[in-house]
């Protein structure tokens, strides 16, 4: 048991490490040349040094630094942000789809994980509080929003251990989450939205009505969009649907139209509700998704 736990932990750790590397790399790459918060504030969190100039509070002089460098430096502290972001990650069975021709693409879950990790890292770097909630038919895990940089590891850990399974019940998950959500903040929903539910629009509306800013990341695998399969295939459900045997050639066109309809459905409803919608295919580089977020944040910064 202990050994198993240890093995699991080792696997988890490696996932965390890889997530960490991917997320950090992505974000750092994006942020080079992009803004950091210029705000320094009075929080207990040290932010930076500044040369002493008359008028600065003497209690903030770093005496150790003086002893070392013989220079008078003032400690600056971070301004605590008011932004609290909660990332909702769909971990239902459908998110576990892995393309048989992965090549250099990531699996959908890894893609989503990396996206969430990257978003979290970005938010934390900007001194925003971020938490994640992982759900399928119900809420599986919840990490409340924190803004400490060390919170990232917790997030990574949760992301690493999550295994997609179960049916998608987005409505229930949102219903459940609503109570825990802060009155202000951002809700980032990362899901494939492959569900037969018809009341998601209402739930999104509910979120919006709570004064929350909602961002939707609609993540699909390339296969789920193009449906490239050939030959006689028995499609087995990753959730609770029964298998279906068919020749993909027969329905490819219709399926592609259906999936586009689905994407368009969410896009249009999100637009109606004032929700920011972003469709991402696993074949699309993740930087694009994050760039979008950054731009969004820039707009927020103007408020």
């Amino acid at each position: 048991m202990k050994k198993k736990a240890l093995e699991l932990n080792l696997e988890t750790l490696s996932r965390i490490a890889s997530l960490n590397i991917r997320a950090t790399k992505l974000v750092e790459g994006l942020l080079s040349g992009h803004h950091r918060s210029k705000h320094t504030g009075s929080s207990i969190e040290f932010a930076d040094y500044k040369d002493y100039s008359p008028g600065d509070e003497i209690k903030h002089i770093d005496w150790k630094m003086l002893a070392k460098t013989d220079k008078h430096q003032i400690k600056q502290f971070e301004q605590s942000s008011n932004l609290k972001a909660t990332i909702l990650l769909d971990a239902s069975g459908s998110m576990g789809y892995e393309s048989p021709n992965l090549k250099n693409n990531m699996s959908k879950m890894d893609y989503a994980r990396t996206l969430v990790a990257s978003l979290s890292y970005l938010l934390l770097k900007q001194f925003d509080a971020v938490g994640i909630s992982i759900f399928n038919k119900t809420l599986i895990r919840h990490v409340p929003p924190r803004s400490k940089p060390s919170h990232f590891k917790h997030i990574l850990h949760e992301l690493a251990v999550v295994s997609p399974n179960g049916i998608t019940k987005l409505e229930d998950a949102i219903e459940c989450m609503v109570e825990r959500l802060p009155s202000r903040g951002i809700i980032i929903l990362v899901s494939d939205f492959l569900t037969k539910e018809t009341g998601i629009e209402k739930k999104l509306k509910l979120l919006v009505s709570r004064g929350l800013e909602v961002i939707l990341f609609h993540v699909l695998d390339s296969d789920e969009v193009s449906f490239p399969f050939k030959g006689d295939v028995v499609f087995e459900s990753l959730e609770d649907d029964s298998s279906i045997e068919l020749d993909p050639e027969d329905i490819r066109e219709t399926y592609q139209r259906s999936i586009q309809d689905l994407i368009e459905y969410y896009r249009s409803h999100c637009t109606k509700l004032g929700i920011d919608y972003k469709f991402l295919q696993t074949s699309t580089p993740l930087e694009q998704g994050l760039l979008y977020y950054l731009l969004q944040r820039k707009n927020l910064g103007k408020h």
């Binding site: 069975g93 459908s94 998110m95 576990g96 789809y97 892995e98 048989p100 959908k108 494939d192 492959l194 037969k196 695998d221 789920e224 399969f229 030959g231 006689d232 295939v233 028995v234 499609f235 087995e236 459900s237 990753l238 959730e239 649907d241 029964s242 298998s243 279906i244 045997e245 068919l246 020749d247 050639e249 027969d250 329905i251 066109e253 219709t254 399926y255 139209r257 259906s258 999936i259 689905l262």
Partner: protein, 714 residues
């Protein structure tokens, strides 16, 4: 109702459905399994997809298997029997008479097999398909028809009896064969009775006369199998007739063989047909002929005689699909002398006053070896004692009548090639001649013309002539002939519708000689007397060559007078000189037969093999008794007595077929099935089975088309 297959072995083809089934199963294993996230979308898409019509693979498999099954069924020739079955293969008991046409036209070759062999094969095939309760009999349809095998249920008997059999040289007689079959069927108890006729359906075998007695009564079932319905070469030509004539007029000894060859095709001419003449086993000469369609050509061959031995020969043409009519046999015994009978109508005890005195000496001045004429003198009273056919020429000299019935005998004599020379005189009864001899004389005797005393006598008007008799007489001899004085002769008037020539006339233009051809022979009328009563010609030097040439010109060989060219099946009649004589006949196969004689006459009927039959006669009856069951032998003292030939009747060579309609008219009450394959026709007869071959093929084709269409749509 019964369902049967003519070729059940082909049903094994149904096992071929294993192929599409295996392919289907193998294709199934190649199915892929794929986890997918949006099954509900797939379902939705499947329901909406236009390509719903893609055929179910199982349905395709079903179509393919069904197509293979239908194809196998079709090739196995399924027959659905309805109603009261007379299917020979089931348990019902059937009595069948097989009428097998073994006439010589059945020897026609097609693809190295004759019609006859094909008929035998089909016959044996049907016999072997009979149920154990059935019986059969075989009747041969060549003339005269006869029962070959009486009722039996053993299929091997037919095989044993027919396995090495051959078609005969006879003609066909289907009518009488059917009569015999009906008689046979009356003897059996079976309910089902059938008559099979395996024939080439040559029209000549279906004589209406033979059917007249059975037309109204027969209501049996007939299955007429046409064995000639196969691709074949045609029977191009046949030797129709041969005729031999001995030339006496020339000093050279020559035999003339006349051969008539017929082109049997209705539309195609024959070019360069080779006709060869064989004498005593050696090829003598060859000619090529061009014969227009549906016509005959006569060709004469001359053979010089080396000796007086008999000539046995044959005329042959090139082989075609029927060989029997490509050869015609002939035989001839050359005559060293011309046997001539002089009938003296005015005999006299004073020899030189007899009517025939000058004639006899002119014909045979010293010995017959010089003139080749052997005269025999007979009075009118003795005339009936002579066999006319022992003579080539009969000279009636100044006769006033004939023995009773001899007008017909003379007519027969002339028709068969004999020559009659009639000289007139004071004893002639013109009324008798005009009333009784009208069958041989082409003219009426009108009246006697006499020269008035002291008037110039009548003389022959002699001109150079091309007549075979007269052409040798040149100037001086012609002048000498003119000097002959005629003071009496008969004037003549032509009978109606007669043909004759006038080789010589008197100087008053009245005919001196009348020549006519009757049948194969000649009749020559000399309008004056043959002695010196009415003219002085007999004492003229030209009389001798003149009368000799007339005799030689009109004579034919004795052999040609005898009725010895027979057709297959015709009896040969032979009158022996003495009841003590024993006759022997050697057949073409070399078999020696001692035919029984009744009152010195033999009627030999076993002339079914074409060829030359040699005749022998022994003058003494042998005292040695032959051993029982040993073949007869020719005694050492047996002398050749001539020969006769038997040839095929060419009516059988005609390839005109009888139509279905004509057959139905011959037997209007009969149930007749026409086919070329008896096995198929057994089950396809009225009230019998229906062949489902076409339906199965159509369905198989439909399955194939459907499968192709579905796959193409895919």
């Amino acid at each position: 109702m019964n369902f049967n297959f003519l070729s059940p072995l082909y049903l094994l083809g149904i096992l071929g459905i294993a192929a599409p089934v295996l392919i289907h199963l193998m294709a199934r294993r190649q199915k892929k399994y794929q986890s997918f996230s949006a099954i509900f979308l797939l379902l939705q898409s499947k329901n909406r997809s236009i390509k719903q019509s893609k055929p179910n693979k199982r349905f395709l498999l079903f179509i393919r298997c069904l197509g293979i099954i239908l194809l196998s069924l079709a090739i196995a020739s399924p027959i659905l029997s309805l109603g009261d079955s007379t299917n020979l293969s089931n348990d019902s008991s059937t009595a069948i008479v097989f009428i097998l046409d073994d006439s010589y036209s059945m020897a026609t070759q097609t693809n190295q097999n004759s019609y006859y062999n094909r008929a035998v094969k089909l016959l044996l095939g049907v016999i072997h398909s009979l149920s154990a309760k059935s019986t059969y009999s075989i009747v041969l349809a060549s003339s005269p028809s006869r029962v070959l095998l009486s009722w039996t249920a053993n299929p091997d008997k037919a095989k044993n009896i027919l396995k090495s059999s051959l078609p005969t040289s006879r003609t066909t007689d289907i009518g009488n064969a059917i009569k015999k079959s009906l008689v046979l069927l009356e003897e059996v108890q079976q309910i089902n009775k059938l008559i099979y006729i395996l024939t080439d359906r040559d029209k000549n075998g279906w004589d209406e006369t033979a059917f007249s007695s059975i037309k109204e009564i027969t209501s049996n079932t007939f299955n007429i199998v046409d064995v000639s319905k196969v691709p074949r070469e045609i029977n191009k030509a046949a030797i129709k007739h041969t005729e031999i004539q001995q030339e006496f007029l020339n000093s050279s000894r020559v035999i003339k063989v006349k051969v008539i060859t017929a082109n049997l095709s209705q539309s195609k001419p024959i070019n360069d047909l080779k006709v060869t003449l064989w004498i005593n086993g050696k090829k003598q000469t060859e000619r090529t002929l061009d014969i227009p369609s549906n016509s005959s050509i006569e060709k004469e061959f001359s053979i010089s005689l080396q000796n007086n031995n008999s000539i046995n020969g044959e005329a042959r043409i090139e082989n075609d699909s029927l060989l029997n009519d490509n050869i015609r046999f002939f035989s001839y015994q050359p005559d060293p002398t011309i046997k001539t009978l002089l009938v003296d109508g005015d005999p006299n005890t004073i020899e030189h006053q007899s009517e025939t005195f000058y004639l006899e000496r002119a014909l045979n001045p010293f010995t017959s070896s010089l003139s080749n004429i052997q005269p025999t003198v007979s009075t009118l009273t003795e005339f009936s004692r002579h066999n006319l056919f022992d003579y080539s020429v009969i000279i009636l000299c100044n006769i006033n009548n004939l023995p009773l019935g001899y007008e017909q005998e003379l007519e027969k004599f002339v028709l068969r090639g004999g020559a009659i020379f009639i000289s007139l005189g004071n004893r002639v009864d013109a009324k008798f001649y005009n009333e009784k001899l009208g069958n041989i004389l082409p003219v009426f005797l009108k009246s006697v013309y006499q020269v008035v005393t002291n008037n110039e006598p009548f003389r022959l008007l002699i001109k150079p002539s091309k007549h075979p008799v007269l052409k040798i007489f040149k100037k001086q001899i012609l002048e000498e002939m003119k000097s002959a004085e005629f003071h009496s002769f008969y004037s003549v008037v032509a009978r109606e519708n007669t043909k004759f020539t006038t080789p010589i006339v008197f100087n008053n233009e009245f005919p001196a000689m009348i020549e006519s051809n009757i049948g194969k022979g000649k009749v020559v009328l000399y309008a004056s007397s043959i002695d010196r009563d009415w003219n002085n010609f007999p004492i003229q030097p030209t009389f001798l060559p003149w009368i000799q040439r007339w005799v030689k010109y009109s004579a034919r060989g004795l052999d040609s007078l005898t009725h010895k060219d027979l057709l297959v099946g015709q009896p040969f009649n032979w009158k022996l000189f003495s009841t003590n004589n024993k006759a022997y006949i050697v057949t073409p196969e070399g078999k020696i037969i001692i035919p029984p004689s009744v009152d010195g006459e033999i009627i030999f009927k076993d002339t079914y093999t074409p060829g030359i039959y040699q005749l022998f006669r022994s003058t003494r009856v042998s005292n040695i008794k032959s051993k029982p069951f040993s073949p007869p032998r020719l005694p050492s003292n047996a002398e050749p007595a001539g020969a006769f030939t038997v040839n095929v009747d060419l009516t059988e060579s005609s390839s005109i077929k009888i139509t279905d309609e004509a057959i139905n008219n011959l037997m209007p009450k009969a149930n007749i099935i026409f086919s070329s394959d008896p096995q198929k026709s057994i089950l396809e007869s009225r009230n019998e089975g229906i062949s489902l071959f076409r339906y199965c093929m159509m369905l198989a084709g439909a399955m194939l088309l459907l499968e192709g269409w579905l796959v193409r749509k895919e």
